[in-house]
Amino acid sequence: MRKRKYTIPTYFAFAWLGLAVFLAIFGSFLPVDGYQVIHGDFIDSPPLTPGHWFGVDSNGYDIFSGIINGARLSVFIAIVSVGLGGAIGALLGITAAYYRGRYDSFINSTFNVVLSVPNLVLALALVAVLATNVDINEAVPTWRRLVTLIISLTVVIIPILGRIARAATLAWSGREFVVAARSMGMRDRDIIKRHIVPNVLPALIAVGFLAVGVVIIAEASLSLLGVGIPDGASWGGMLARGRNDLEYNPHALYIPIIALAFTVISTNHVGDVLRGGLDRREGRL
């Protein structure tokens, strides 16, 4: 087994992502106030105030609690959409590349069509249509917004990861061991399961990390535009709220930005490192 050597930034990236996932899962059990508790005496206090290390915004919301709570939503949305999108994309991409023919050209051109619409436009349009209420004056409940958001972001991810899966499968399905397995009469399902998926998966995981970054940014963008999860619950929502108050409380803006940027830098970096490892592996063959 080849020994992997990571550099210090890679460990930082893993540590940060680990922390984010930890907060996403266990954040609600930590002894931290809810993010919507109003600290009336501390309104507008800057970072490093004792008890409110990240400061308090002009509504009296503690920013530290906001970050921890936001991690839950932002990371949850990202992981679920990339997981779902990756699974569906991989299924479509792998089968398309394996069976070729008309099915393949149909899937491939569908991916191309979806990709020709800018990410955010697609997500926005889907959110708008899916979250439309019969009665205009009735607010859309939060859980439905969450589901809509996840569905829309999943649709954005499917062609991105699907194309990667397709390209990787195309490269692998011509290899000798696949041909050998087929000539020995192995069933297509088993070939895909035993020979294709294990080889395609590493590339998919590497790009999946990049996709998590894309989704976190997309979710924040939607929140900034006012169609995300309401009440500033996610990091993007905190940005949207902090943006209105950037003259007097810049920390309400830059602290969520830092959290967001660190996360995206980490996912991109990890994705990059994994992809680099793949290239080396390919190079050895």
Partner: protein
Amino acid sequence: MRGSFWVQRFAQLLITVFCVTFGCSLLVQLLPVSPAEILLPVGSPEERELLTKEIGLDRGPIGYYLKWLGEFVQGDFGDIYYSGGTESVSSRLAVAFPRSIWLMIYTQVLSLAVAIPLGVWSAYRVGKRADKAISNTLFTLSSIPNFAIALILVLILGVRLQWLPTLDYQPYSAGIWEHFKHMIMPVVSLSVGLIAAYTRLLRADMIAALREDYILMAASKGLTDRRILWRHAFRPSSVTLFTSAALNMGALIGGAIVIETIFATYGVGFEVFAAISGRQYIALQSIVGLISIFYVVFNLIVDILAGYVDPRTRDRRVNA
């Protein structure tokens, strides 16, 4: 052979545009409420009936699409419905398009102007300290979302230092400096990510090109490094770069939604957002259709240009 390639390419273009716009019109059909009810919230049933007929919604999904397509081809992009009346989408776009085009052009020019020297330089010094510094800095910067950069710029340059206006757009007629002053922050925030992406592409291609035999040949002829870099290595390496730049053109017109909203530039991206949040589905369908046309047309142009820059690619493009 060459002729059939362009026919195929053009057919692909039409099919993509058709699929995108038909998808949009299906979305309108999928709405849980009748669009007429959304567009005329206080109208009487007769008025809604009239509107449904006018948009063509009574003709079924295909009939509706064909009616929309017929008008779209003739340059009638439908109307935006207000409580007081209607406004044509084309008149809105006539204002928004130039803004987005300028934004796109400045962003591309700035990104390429910075990325090309950086990419060539870091490929020339590959593995050295300069290369690593450039790559790492750009990698970090590119991971910061563009709206975050925009908000930080607003905070520092707009609010603290008050050097630049944070909102609005000014046309050329208001003075060149006024025009640029309003463009600097949106353009810079859109450019950062592109600079990183372009530099990376160019660097990778340049490194590969510099390993080719003809570079060794050129060097052994005694040509200067500068000449080898720019004349012999840059030209064939620039194809991927310009392809990706062209793909971004479509995305920049219409995709710069957040930046256009933050800086109140009100280009096409903002119109998309306004159409969505105002539930103007017919306008949305037309604008998204136009954006996808831009996207595929730029794609096609780049394919043609790539053939001129690097003749080797002319025969290799099969299923782009």
